[in-house]
């Protein structure tokens, strides 16, 4: 301000120069609206907390009986007091990791293609198609995996087991590579197939997050890299990928969260077992959500409580994964806006 005004304030009146009280006149509909909005927020808060608290309350009974065995016991027979989530927990994590193993390259490639390589004309169509893929119901993926993919993938499983069987997780019991009469049925309904289908389900979600972050990579730095003589891959490696690292990690973890909680596709494909099954190619696998879908129906009140505890464990796991993912994603976005 160039103009300054000099105001003479009499000494006696200086005591009156205090901050004004700001009072907004709020009319009656506005007050009502505020209470309605706040009320609906409260209702949502109550419902959502109720889900968590109810799970905790119901599950507590079972956890109290089982104690630490809940995490180490493999069998699931709550009515005789011998139950735990060791087998299903390991199964859940294995299927989710297999899913991410396939989803990560697939979604990274698709995201890079859409943001860097695709002709401008088809870019929007591709974005729509990938988003649509994320909206396809999981039961449809399950059908596809069970009836189409499963028979196709058996020879691949067999091949991996024959040549890479010496790696512990690829070992398959009851399969001899040099037996010409060996049937591939020992490979059906395995962690590998379920993980592949779930991976295909989460890949579009992961990919759309990665693409969003990649397209935000600063144009100036891209052009700078190209002007210095970088090839397209050189530009991607030195600008787009470092910039999008948060999006890659966050998107992958969000996909992991979805993969951990997937029910129906897994339930359709696997044949449930209640031992820790570390051999991912072998028949038989289990997850927490499949366990709930399998056992809720004829459950006694105590078994229901045990199922609740298992659901609580699943929920806590996805919660941690999702929170970490959203923190990483929001950090990577705030960085882009600061540029």
């Amino acid at each position: 301000m160039s103009v300054t005004e000099k105001i003479d304030v009499p000494a006696s009146e200086s005591s009156m120069d205090r901050p004004r009280r700001l009072v907004a006149a709020v009319d009656r509909p506005d007050v009502a609206f505020r209470w309605i909005a706040r009320g609906s927020g409260t209702v949502v808060l109550v419902i959502m907390s109720l889900v968590g608290l109810f799970l905790l309350y119901q599950g507590y009974q079972a956890i109290q009986v089982a104690g630490l065995n809940f995490l180490t016991e493999q069998a699931w027979d709550p009515n005789s007091g011998k139950f735990g989530i060791a087998a299903v927990l390991v199964g859940t994590i294995l299927i989710a990791l297999t899913a991410i193993f396939f989803a990560l390259p697939l979604s990274l490639g698709t995201a890079l293609y859409i943001s860097e390589y695709a002709p401008r004309k088809i870019k929007n169509a591709l974005v729509t198609i990938v988003d649509l893929m994320a909206a396809v119901p999981s039961v449809v993926y399950g059908l596809w995996g069970l009836f189409f993919l499963s028979p196709e993938i058996l020879p691949v499983s067999q091949w991996i087991a024959s040549y890479l069987g010496w790696i512990p997780i690829f070992t398959v019991h009851g399969f001899k590579a040099d037996d010409p009469l060996a049937t591939p049925t020992v490979f059906a309904a395995s962690t590998f197939i379920a993980g592949l289908v779930v991976g295909l389900m989460v890949a579009p979600i992961t990919s759309s997050i990665m693409r969003e972050v990649f397209t935000q990579a600063p144009l100036g730095e891209r052009e700078g890299a190209l002007a210095l003589g970088a090839t397209r891959w050189g530009m991607i490696r030195s600008v787009v990928l470092p910039f999008g690292r948060g999006g890659i990690i966050g998107g992958t973890m969000l996909g992991l969260g979805r993969a951990l909680g997937e029910t129906i596709a897994v339930y359709l494909i696997i044949s449930p077992v209640f031992v820790i099954q570390p051999h991912i190619l072998e028949k038989g696998a289990n997850t927490i959500s499949a366990l709930i879908a399998l056992r809720y129906n004829e459950a006694s009140p105590f078994e229901l409580s045990a199922l609740m505890a298992a659901g609580l464990a699943l929920f806590l796991m996805t919660l941690v994964v999702n929170f970490v993912a959203s923190i990483i994603i929001s950090r990577s976005r705030s960085g882009s806006q600061g540029d």
């Binding site: 390589y117 591709l126 909206a135 050189g234 809720y296 699943l314 919660l319």
Partner: protein, 403 residues
């Protein structure tokens, strides 16, 4: 590395026009040649050299060979970074192609196998109560599942849309500690696996309160699952509404309620619609909450308050677990109906939404231009009338302004 240019281009030739096309002929030839060579080599391996079988294996081996050949051939006349660039380009392209192939395979396999039952019109008008597992496809249908899906999703939307939108408005209009707590809890609940939402309703409504399995319970489970999704995406959309629009409304003396109703919500309308439609698509496709709470049936039940009810995904799930081929075909049919429903919803969301807040369609833009012309005319007429009334004659500004 040194590059010698002079040898190839004698200075006497006239300056050639530079080719700025991004696709070079030599690249295309290289690509096609390598593809043909790899397929040929793999065929030889498969049919003459090694005891291999399986279509997928054939594709995998020939792709690996293709990459190898392509690298070797490119390295004959390109430098290291260029070879790496070309290889990565091929890999990225094929990964994206694989993803699209997977989608088309999922959609067309499901719809394709569902065409059998879909061809019979009774599939859309009958339920499964009179059709046994061995009956031909000309008997029985999924009208009960279609009606069930429609009833459940309508009831779920009737709760979750008003509640979700009001909560999203609350989060964006009344920020503070309380809103932050609500937002944190809602974001946490988007991680809730859908089967746990179903288990919650099963344990509270059915075991604790003693109701039977019904459409109402299923729609409650879907609501619990959908509510955080709708709130979260609506919250994101509302945050994109430009602050100066809201401030203009407040400066004109509008209350919070008037600002929300006349400025914020209309501005964000297309984004909010998209959020709701995508939430609906998720809700329609969910099987596990319905599995726990609705109770599968084979007959048409239009009353959500009593008796079990079925939905499309649940019927699909129940049908394909039967060993009879006709039942599996019916399962695929109902999955195809579900897919078509989801694709339609998605197309609707793309048509309505996809536009940022405040961006108008061309029709809306024309309407708005017309409206402001009318307003402008009205203002001028009033101004002119007022001047005449005072008797000031025509002012300087009006004489110079084009009319």
């Amino acid at each position: 590395m040194t590059t010698v240019i002079g040898d190839r281009l004698p200075p006497t030739t006239p300056e050639a026009r530079r080719n700025t096309a991004t696709i070079r002929t030599v690249d295309v030839i290289r690509l096609l040649g390598c593809a043909a060579a790899s397929i040929g080599f793999t065929s030889w391996l498969y049919f003459s050299a090694l005891p291999l079988e399986g279509f997928l294996g054939f594709v995998l081996i020939s792709y690996g060979l293709f990459l190898l050949l392509f690298m070797v051939v490119t390295s004959f006349d390109e430098n290291g970074p260029t070879v790496r660039d070309r290889i990565i380009e091929v890999v990225v392209n094929s990964l994206a192609f694989l993803m699209l192939l997977a989608l088309f395979s999922v959609v067309f396999y499901t719809v394709g196998r569902g065409l059998g039952p879909l061809g019979n019109l009774n599939f859309f008008v009958q339920d499964m109560s009179l059709a046994g597992p061995l009956d031909p496809l000309s008997k029985g249908g999924v009208i009960h599942a279609m009606a069930g899906t429609l009833i459940m999703i309508t009831m779920a939307l009737a709760v979750s849309v008003p509640l979700g939108l009001l909560t999203a408005v609350f989060l964006s209009e009344y920020p503070g500690r309380y809103a932050r707590i609500v937002r944190t809890i809602v974001e946490a609940m988007t991680a809730l696996p859908s089967i746990v939402a179903g288990l919650f309703i099963y344990a509270t409504v059915i075991i604790f309160l003693g109701f039977n399995r019904s459409g109402l319970a299923a729609s409650l489970a879907i609501t619990v699952m959908m509510l955080p999704i709708i709130i979260r995406s609506a919250d994101v959309v509302l945050r994109l509404v430009p602050g100066n629009l809201k401030e203009a409304a407040r400066a004109l003396g509008a209350s919070t309620w008037r600002t929300v109703w006349t400025v914020t919500l209309p501005t964000a309308r297309s984004g909010l619609t998209t959020a709701i439609i995508l939430g609906t698509a998720r809700g329609i496709g969910e099987t596990s909450p319905v599995l726990l709470t609705a109770g599968a049936t084979t007959f048409l039940n239009l009353n959500p308050l009593s008796g079990p009810m079925s939905s499309l995904p649940l019927t699909t799930f129940a049908l394909v677990r039967s060993p009879e081929p006709n039942m599996i075909a019916r399962g695929f049919g109902s999955a195809a109906v579900l897919m078509v429903l989801v694709v339609l919803l998605f197309a609707l969301a793309r048509i309505i939404g996809g536009r940022g807040p405040g961006q108008l369609s061309s029709r809306q833009e024309r309407a708005r231009t017309r409206q402001s012309k009318v307003d402008d005319y009205r203002f001028r007429a009033r101004e002119l009338g007022a001047r005449r009334h005072v008797g000031g004659g025509v002012s300087e500004r009006e004489r110079t302004s084009p009319s």
